[in-house]
């Protein structure tokens, strides 16, 4: 089974729901992306950046002590946290920054939740000499103040968004308003596999290197494919990045872990596929957390990066056709896995990543000691030290 894409659609999902003013820019981006894919010079330039700037290929770490808590399953971590800027976000950002240059635009705007995509965007802007404005919900600027400082040090302007729930959703609204107004000079460097076509396809193309590398690495290390590939899902870019190379391998389970917040049953969560329904948000049709009038419902999660009431359309499709499954991990489960990873492996994960790690504890117990689980270790937890210290009562 493979995903089908017709005019930017994944089955009934995807497409473009945007003001007409953006159609020209989306067409321009789609063309730039298409021509770049077939251009060996572009690919060589991107590969060089991966090798000499962000540090690819990222390594695989086997988590042997953590495994004891996961039913003895072999746990293989794909270490995207070791990339420059500390997460998988840089993969997409470098690709889109090169496209920005190709389109002759001098200014990028970005949205950010946890700040990882904002930091990566500010980094690429510095590297390529682009002006950079990052929109960030006011609540997120408070819980991720360290990343705000990083972006400013890198020369970006950070705009706190005070509308709505003051989180990622509202940051995207504000970025889209900026883009409609400044579309001639500005590229919207969207950080996830959501938004109008071509973003879901393009961002996935820049992230699928994670799964391509990991598939070869796991084969070399274990002589076989993993039984399951696990990742956390907010918008879903790290998940689609590691899933994509395995989609044709029908024996490999693909499992995404959404943010269950206080628990899906409480209504205070960000588990869009688990607890939402099909609808349109931010230019694409996918699953959405919404009420009876089609109004977006505010999401809740301890993890700013997963705190989003939408999800990429390809995930919606993979869910509906049964190729991938999506489960919810609540705040408590995620923080337990966070601590366990710190104490058993000496690696502080991002709280986003901790959702996938909690999932590994669950899936490992289900599949048992002879199974192999590949987990996308999407980001490092330095940015979350303050949140975690508060959570565990460590005085600062």
């Amino acid at each position: 089974m493979s995903t089908t894409e017709i005019l930017g659609h994944f089955g009934p999902y995807g497409g473009r729901f945007v003001p007409e003013a953006l159609i020209g820019a989306l067409d321009e981006l789609e063309n730039a992306h298409k021509s770049a894919i077939d251009d060996p010079l572009f690919q060589a330039e991107l590969t060089e950046l991966h090798k000499t700037y962000s540090g690819r290929p990222s390594i695989i770490t086997e988590a042997k002590r953590f495994s004891e808590y996961a039913g003895g399953a072999r746990i293989l971590l794909k270490r995207e946290d070791l990339n420059h800027t500390g997460s998988h976000k840089i993969n997409n950002v470098l690709g889109q920054a090169l496209l920005t240059k190709r389109m002759g635009k001098k200014r990028i705007i970005a949205e950010t939740g946890a700040g990882q995509h904002g930091v990566a965007s500010a980094t690429a802007a510095a590297l390529f000499g682009l002006e950079c404005v990052v929109y960030m919900g006011e609540e997120d600027t408070q819980r991720q103040s360290l990343n705000v400082a990083r972006m400013k040090l890198l020369g970006a302007e950070v705009v706190p968004v005070t509308a709505g729930s003051r989180t990622l959703k509202d940051a995207i609204n504000e970025a889209m308003r900026d883009w409609v107004t400044n579309v001639e000079t500005t590229h919207y460097l969207l950080g996830t596999v959501a938004g109008p076509h071509p973003f879901p396809t393009m961002v996935r193309d820049f992230q699928k290197i994670i799964g391509q590398e990991a598939r070869e690495q796991v084969l070399a290390l274990t002589g076989r494919l993993p039984d399951a590939v696990l990742a956390c899902v907010g918008g879903g870019s790290n998940a689609i990045g590691i899933f994509h190379a395995f989609i044709p391998d029908s024996d490999v389970q693909l499992i995404g872990f959404e943010a269950g917040g206080d628990g899906v049953e409480t209504g205070r969560h960000a588990a869009t596929i688990t607890g939402g329904s099909p609808g349109v948000l931010h230019g694409t049709r996918s699953y959405v957390l919404q009420d009876a009038n089609g109004q977006t419902v505010e999401s809740h999660s301890i993890s700013a990066g997963l705190d989003y009431p939408g999800v990429g359309p390809e995930h919606a499709f993979l869910h509906d056709i049964g190729r991938a499954q999506y489960r919810a991990i609540n705040d408590v489960q995620a923080m337990q896995a966070f601590k366990l990873m710190c104490e058993t492996e000496g690696i502080i994960p991002a709280i986003e990543t901790a959702h996938a790690l909690a999932g590994a504890l669950e899936v490992g117990r289900e599949l048992g000691p002879n199974s192999i689980l590949l987990i996308n270790f999407s980001g490092r937890g330095d940015k979350d030290v303050q949140t975690a210290a508060q959570y565990f009562g460590i005085p600062l």
Partner: protein, 267 residues
Amino acid sequence: MTTQLEDALKRAKSENRAALIAYIPAGFPSYEGCKKVITVFQEAGVDVVEIGFPYSDPVMDGPTIQEAATISLRGRTGAPQVFSTVKHAHSVGLATLVMTYWNPIEKYGADAFAQEIASNGGSGVITPDLTIEESAKWESAVLSSQINSIYVVAPSTTKDRLARVASHCSGFVYAASLMGVTGTRTSVSSGAEDLVSRLREETTLPICVGLGVSTREQAKSVASYADGVIVGSAFIKILLEAKSEAQGLESVRALAKELALGVREAR
């Protein structure tokens, strides 16, 4: 059969003037307050009213309409309130449109939504974030309910695409005067006149211009080349700043009268 909207635009044309189209979100400044504003619109010489369906994520709207939407949603405005506001506007004799982002229609069901518009006396719906590529379901709903479907074009829209978008429109084509979000501007972008003249080459439908119009002078200037002048944020700003409902309504009346003069003195 023609819609009340088509009749209103025809009547304005026969009087050698542009039509005045006024926007107000349902449920703003309150559910009943909105109906009063609509009555004032009619009394002051507005030809067509556009009732907004407030939405949680209005990416095409500037701060003024965002604030109005927030107030309206806090008052729990939903589809039933929008339809009953349409019914009121129709009852005072205004040609009535609904302007809505796509998701509330998708959630309600395209066919049912179009039927409710028609049965409450509405003439059509403006869908600013529904692209023609995604419009198949909506087109069939609109056809069977015999209401107008109005899409928005922008200064960046190419010639070829102007023709295609216009071919999906009925009633009129909505020309956004500038690249940007809704809100009052000190001047109306010169791009608007250029867009209207490019659009005239592709369609015989009436063309109405919106975004940034707030004064009699601006209305007069736009009315010299467009078939309709659309005003939204200016009314909302007045209502947000009003000290009382009565004062707000009188200020709305005064502005609507000025704008109605503006569209009559252009040619």
